[in-house]
């Protein structure tokens, strides 16, 4: 039979647990979140920080431009302006995904703006900063230099990409 002292102890423990959980909730709410745009490419999941993505466009006719590296697909018209489109799969050295439906993320980093061809936009979510981990050492070397981190979403691993490094790679090609 439980003594009064035991009940008091359990109450205290329960109270501590509740308090701890409340603190965790407060911590969770206050923890910085990063909005990301998740997308699929060549069967894997990737993301750009939401601040980099201006618009999601269906892939329309792309005008090729001669004399440019193979990672530049060409030019598109967006509300009367001309934007470039880059082939993210080629930059990341991924297998070609020709024939699939594709989209263009109009993205910007610093003063550079370009369309980035992807397979499919999957979701736009808020990810706690603490959930974004460093890229594993086992990551393919072709991708590693463009990776800002990795996180889990619905049981899938999502690779967060650094758009500035991607654009720098295109410019240096």
């Amino acid at each position: 039979m439980a003594s009064e002292q035991d009940i008091s102890k359990s109450d205290r423990i329960l109270s501590e647990i509740k308090l701890l959980r409340e603190r965790q909730k407060i911590t969770d709410v206050d923890e910085p979140q990063l909005q990301v745009v998740m997308f699929s490419l060549a069967g894997d999941m990737y993301a750009f920080p939401g601040r980099n993505v201006l618009e999601i466009l269906p892939r329309e006719e792309v005008s090729p431009i001669p004399g440019t590296p193979s990672c530049i697909i060409g030019l598109i018209i967006v509300r009367g302006d001309i934007e470039s489109v880059v082939d993210l799969g080629k930059i990341l050295d991924l297998p070609a995904t020709e024939g699939r439906e594709s989209f263009v993320l109009l993205a910007a980093s610093g003063t550079v703006r370009s369309g980035v061809q992807i397979d499919q936009v999957e979701d736009v979510v808020e990810v706690p900063q603490s959930a974004i981990l460093a890229a594993p050492a086992t990551l393919d070397s072709g991708i590693r230099e463009f990776v800002a981190g990795q996180f889990e979403h619905d049981g899938k691993s999502v690779t967060l990409l650094d758009l500035e490094k991607i654009f720098a790679q295109v410019a240096a090609a």
Partner: protein, 146 residues
Amino acid sequence: MTGVAEETYGAGTELRLLVFSIDGSRFAADADQVDSLQLCDPESVPGHAVPFHEVVGFTGRAVTYRCPEICTIRSEAGICRLVIESPEDIIAVPWESLRPLPALIEPFAVQRGIWAGIAESNRIILVIDLCRLASTGNLWKMQGDI
């Protein structure tokens, strides 16, 4: 003090552009840069004329000209003869409707003389400076060399 007034470009100034297509891409060249155009036989293009696609950077695929013309450009640097597809149009384009090329494209395109674009319904016309193309491609010849 006397001097030559510099040409200014502002709203309303128009460029006369020669529009031609090569392998599905449309180009527009400043008509003022073109000295002459001369039809030639697709089977016997003169050796001194350089196919446009070779210097502008089309790589990895064969390009055929259905109705080739020899486009002659003259400048202080010399004479350059390019083989282009027969122009489909001459258009007058207001200066302000030219669009600068995106930052990622410009460094590559400028090396090939491509310096602006025209957004026309769903297609883009690439505006090309033929003199710059001739210079970067080292294509200028002296009159006696041709």
